[in-house]
Amino acid sequence: MDKNRRNLIKGAAAAGGIAAFGAGYYGPLEKMGKGLINGTAGKKTADRLHGNSLAPEYSVDPQTGEITLNQDQRIAFTVCYGCTTKCGVRVRIDNNEEKVLRVSGNPYHPLSADEHLDEDIPVLDALRGLSSFQDQGQLNRSTACARGNAAMAQLTSDNRVLQCLKRVGPRGSGQWQTVSFEQLLDEIVEGGDLFAEGAVDGLRAIRDVETPLDANNPEYGPKANQLLMMEATDYGRSALLKRFAFNAFGTRNYGHHGAYCGLAFRMGSGALMNDLAKYAHVKPDLANTKFALFIGTAPSQAGNPFKRQGRLLAQARSTGSLEYVVVDPALNAAASHAASDRNRWISILPGTDTALAMGLIRWMLENNGYAADYLALPGNTAANAAGEAGHSNATHLVIDDDSHPRAGHFLRLSDLGQAEAGSESDHPVVVNNAGDLESAEAASRGQLFVERQVDTADGTTTVRSSLFKLRQQAQAYSIEEYADYCGIEAGTIKALAKRFARFGRQAAADVHGGMMSGSGFYASWGVNMLNLLAGSYNHKGGVAVGGGKYNGMGSGPRYDLDGFPGKIGPKGVFLSRSRFPYEKTSEYKRHVANGESPYPAKAPWRKLAPPILTEHLLSGIDGYPYHIKAMIGVMANPLYGQAGLTEMIESKLKDPKNIGLYVAVDGFINETNRYADYIVPDSVMYEVWGFTGAWSGTVTKMTTACWPVVEPRQAKTAAGEPVSMDSFFIELAKRLDLPGFGDNAITGADGKSYPLNRAEDYYLRAAANIALAGKPLADASAEDIHASGIEPLMERLQGTLTADEVGPVAHLYSRGGRFEKMEKAYNGQKLGNTWNRPLCVYNEEVGTTIDSYSGKRLVGTPMFHPPRFWDGSALRDHFTQEDWPLLAFSFKSNLMNSYSIGLERLRMIKPYNPVLLHYKDAEKYGVKHGDAIAIESPGGKVIALALVGEHVHQGALGIEHGYGHRELGAGTHVIDGEKRPGNEYLGAGVNLNDLGFADPTRKSGTATWLENVSGASVRQGLPVRISVVNDLI
């Protein structure tokens, strides 16, 4: 596009808007002359009418429906790595060129199919069901999304790393040499002066599971903890990585992308669902929900599972009976004009969702807008009698008196002298309908709002019911104050609450990554609380925890893939200071012994948070709690994903004194592993083994089976195996003489020992565990084996498994996994798969956790607080509205993700990400549609184009995520002296995370802004200011 056209568009915009149809005029005229003189000027097409379109993969007889397969192609079922949804797909492969032709959905798969097929349906019948025969294929589709379609370009990308690389220049200089896999292993195991920069500790020296790494703080664990493992997410192979890390090498330290993805959401959800170990969450049962409220998430724009939610939303609003409201700072794809009678978008100021949630809760509690009968059920006995799948702790009494030794805990029978403390019968206590204290398991109902004095073994104390405490928090501000804070009118909040309450148990509030704000934990808990108040958990049309997965990597019916001889249990404090109370550290005890106040701690200790990559890296470099010596990253890219990290860490990563050894396992060079010392080329999508599950909202149990449907392209090991994450950890463990790998590493149910020398030694045995769990799958037929393209796999099955396992495992791969039948989805008005732990209006674990800055207990119910820093001070105490008038946020693209910029078919549709600016803000700052603007935050500055309109909340600035890359093909690298120039188009656009900044209340240079309770990276509501960039125009 030339300058003239750009100026024309701008002129048009300034003139008030005409569509731009400028280009393309001269091209055809030019070709006309050429064509008439020379005949067809281009390359002759394969077919006169169908051009170069692909040959069909099969044909269907229009009368009989009989299938004839195209013998030049095969169809195979595996997983898509296009995003973290991990849909099951059907891959069309050219048998002659071994090339992937196109991808669509697996009809047996719940994440891809409208209604997934029972797996006893033969594969040829399933293929017929995808065809136009009797319109079957469009009455029940199985699809792949745009990214899922485009992602196959990864396989053949010029940017792939195909050889083992070792850096030859300084870290990050982009200078590499290829080395053999065996040399790479030698060097990282034994260490030495590997880069002529001085001695580097090898992994053999670091792997010490006995010696404490810090004698003064023995709780930090052994020296082996000085290896940090990073991973993007579980693409079906994490179990093998963790087997190496935790149970063979013995390091405690592993982190994945969660802390800069949706952790604040997950923890808020975990607080409600009484699961602060795995942070269970729910998604609406969209097929039956009558009213949905999406806050900080937008099915069909993005989300997990993307396609499943998008499809269900589309169907429910067009042919079903769903109404919904999308609350989001930005207009998104879920707000459908064509279905405008069924949905509405309400904009909100970024990072203020707690205010909205507490406003809604307040209205519901003050206007009988809650499921009183359900909430009054105090225990399992009462819930069972009422036919409910579970109960909440709304009626349970909390000891709410700081002077009481059990402050923050539930009042239990032992406090009343009626049970032994900690015993199984030490139930919480409620006030029953007669007004008396009674065990939650004995009472049939409890009173919802209680505040009274109770005599306990430790004296008279104040107790309040959980719901009473929630109401106290909700009433801390008026709905008008909440409205004023979040930018949604009070009348709208009240109407929304009323509407939500009216649909009761068929109302669902859905929330996700939009909660990554400075108050995200309580925001997520608050939004989830709406579901609890409505009683919609576990209810058909309410919110669903999902069906879970078949776990093949545990101790299964055929093989024990969990335990093994010599297995290590990792010990010690996580580098991220999580899951460990500060009060148990030696440091704390020293302060107390010295008569000093232990608070604030040197840096946050987050008892409730999982190990978080947002703290791991900077902590490991800063040395608190301890230094790391080596790092292995698998597809991990925190520098792109964590707001403010690049600016803070880049110079430190460049210096090998901070971390001696960094090995990356990846198919591509990204913004983080560009600083690696070695890169191990990994298999990419369709070349990998693994087993993946589904996220919540998928109401039936399922596991996707992945196998290399095409041969990996990268280098091979000396033994002839593809170099990959699997072979890397297997061979690394063997070199280090670690347990759990090599000969006799796997124990079968038959008592015999089996080897783990190749990837399939592990994954095919996991497949046997899945295929033979419960009622074993039937043997695959010869026709199924042929039609599902698994013939190349059969030899490996026969060479690895016992004879009786081959048939069922072939069945598993011929369907692309194991899937519970659709009929198991519901049980009357309840969901077929339910969550049975007591749901938390008040979470005892939260309410008794001490904040390591203030030394005070956390609030144990949802609450309102403004976005804040570690010391509790508010964002605006440091960065005023006057100086930083706008709040920036990122939102997921419906096309691009954080690692898809290399896919040219996505770039051609959306090459760039102009930022969303409200027209009133544009007027205020003199910005016109299409102007280049500088966006400045306390931590960085980027230049972007302004897309001016009403598509964003006033006062907010929206940045679509996935652009502004420096690597993944954008950067230039030199390999063996040969320059591999970057493509500048992959670097187009801006990344909101370049606007992230340091928490000003923490030690300089050690922390980006993280949400206090969870440690989640804050990316929603970053303070910014904008100005027009004049010199570019």
């Binding site: 596009m1 030339d2 750009r6 568009i9 915009a13 569509a19 731009a20 149809f21 400028g22 393309g24 091209g27 006309m32 064509g35 008439l36 067809t40 281009g42 390359k43 097409t45 077919d47 006169r48 009418l49 169908h50 051009g51 170069n52 379109s53 040959a55 069909p56 269907v60 007889d61 669509s104 065809s131 294929g137 469009q138 589709r141 792949a144 999304c145 379609n149 998008g310 939303l313 589309a314 067009s318 207009l331 459908s336 064509a338 405008s340 419906n894 096309l895 040219e904 078919r905 770039r907 051609m908 549709i909 959306k910 090459p911 102009p914 549609h929 280049a932 230049i943 009403e950 187009a988």
Partner: protein
């Protein structure tokens, strides 16, 4: 079909000029393959060469339920792969608009999938000097790549910007409803991959087909693009806002691509 045509032409009276529509992003309002304004005229009155090839018993058409379109572009990409379309050219794409509801004032997203309309009076056919482009008996408009000289007349003639000159083959290129798949009993790539289930293809002469039944059910609500052109398009839209049946008066999309320093880079792919 006559009833249908009359019903669709009837929509003309509803043509309005809406409020300013702002494209959400760079995929927005530009045509599939941007073309300049062209001569007007009633194509129905023009000579149409006789239809040939294809199954005379069938008339293929597509119905797009816009209420079910989520704008995911799965159709765009799967079509692009299936038909080996050059980068930067499109046989189909989904335009995405920010639009204000005329009554409520609510702001929402409008998704408009676009492709060849396989018109009953296709203006692209009579203008072909070598009769390379023609309509099959089953209604599918195709291009004979062996005959096409790439003159581009048909590209100019199409009121829907649905055609382009394929830079590899140097011939006119466009959606064929994936005739190579329909002919063997498979679905077009875009239909097969439609995540929301918005795209319905089928034989409108078969009263039992899904599309015929949906046409019956929704006959009063269906609209086509640019009915005033008299082309009788055979892509029917359900849930259409009539402000969009002609080219919307929209604020332009931003096609600029900028590097991190804010410098203009231009569009990476040929065709725009």
């Amino acid at each position: 079909m006559d009833t249908m045509r009359r019903a669709l032409l009837g929509q003309m009276t509803k043509l309005t000029v809406g409020a300013a529509l702002v494209p959400l992003s760079s995929i927005a309002s530009a045509g599939i393959n941007d073309q300049p304004p062209r001569r007007e005229g009633d194509p129905a009155k023009r000579y149409q060469p006789p239809r040939r090839e294809g199954d005379p018993a069938k008339r293929y058409a597509m119905l797009i339920d816009l209420r079910a379109c989520i704008g995911c572009q799965a159709c765009t990409v799967s079509c692009h792969i299936e038909n080996e379309v050059p980068l930067g050219s499109f046989r189909t794409i989904v335009s995405q608009y920010e639009v204000e509801h005329e009554d409520s004032g609510d702001i929402a997203t409008f998704m408009l999938p676009r492709l060849c309309n396989h018109c009953d009076s296709p203006p692209c056919v009579p203008v072909c000097p070598v009769q390379a482009t023609f309509q099959r008996e089953d209604g599918i408009v195709v291009v004979d790549n062996d005959v096409c000289v790439g003159c581009g007349y048909c590209v100019q003639a199409c009121p829907y910007d649905a055609r382009f000159i394929n830079e590899h083959t140097q011939t006119a290129d466009k959606c064929t409803f994936c005739a190579h798949r329909l002919d063997v009993g498979l679905l077009p790539a875009c239909v097969e991959s439609c995540v929301g289930g918005a795209r319905i293809i089928g034989d409108i002469r078969d009263p039992n087909s899904q599309i015929s039944q949906m046409i019956d059910e929704h006959s009063k609500e269906l609209m086509v693009l640019k009915p005033e052109q008299g082309t009788s398009p055979h892509v029917f839209y359900l849930g259409m806002d009539d402000r969009f049946i002609s080219r919307p008066d929209a604020k332009p999309a931003l096609w600029d691509v900028r590097d991190p320093q804010g410098e203009e880079m231009g569009y990476e792919f040929h065709g725009h």
